[in-house]
Symmetry: C2
Subunit: 121 residues, 2 copies
């Protein structure tokens, strides 16, 4: 399994402009990060560079609460915790992919309309 890279959600990636949101601000991105297999807390912090530990923990807890991911702690020192998608969590990919496809097709039109609107003021 490839390590997650820091530029997976680069700022110039327009995903922040899409009208679709999954769960809270970071929920959809966490789900994508878990696509290939379980990840540790600190592993997730690499692609999600700007998320604070508090907010990441809250995001993971909300996803666990809704049955989308599992949280497995290993009784080691230093401690290790791994998060993994459940079968239910994997069902999110289908609608998420449709949203991503929409964005690839139509986000440029949205941004063009927005710029035209802003210029008109």
């Amino acid at each position: 399994m490839e390590p997650l890279t820091a530029d997976l959600f680069a700022p110039q990636c327009l995903s922040a402009e899409t009208p679709f949101r999954i769960g809270d601000k970071w929920g959809g991105m966490v789900v994508v990060c878990l696509k290939d297999g379980p990840r540790r807390f600190s592993e997730l912090r690499v692609p999600l560079r700007t998320v604070s530990p508090k907010v990441l923990a809250a995001t993971l807890k909300a996803l666990e609460r809704d049955g989308m991911i599992t949280r497995k702690t290993y009784d080691e020192n230093p401690p290790r915790v791994e998060y993994a998608l459940t079968d239910l969590g994997r069902t999110l990919f289908e609608p998420m992919d449709r949203c991503r496809e929409w964005a690839e097709k139509y986000l440029p039109s949205l941004l063009k309309a927005r710029q035209a609107y802003d210029r008109a003021d």
Copy 2:
């Protein structure tokens, strides 16, 4: 064209629990309300009973800015304004339908997981 009913988004409708959101809080619901044709400001307030005029106006302005709807004013007295979906706005239905289908299939599982999690605490 049928009038919009007040129970279109009834509170017991679980749409509030879906993890998918389109635009701001009311954006997706406005798009659904415009599916069958143009609607007036006050017509939209019927199904969206609890939205304040300020927030509805902001929602409509954001949708217009992004090219999803058009705003047409008629120079009458009393004034009349009609909102209608654009072709771009209609492209939202495809991903939105996939999200709705997800919710119909899997929202019960999500809610069951949530209840189990909350009981475990």
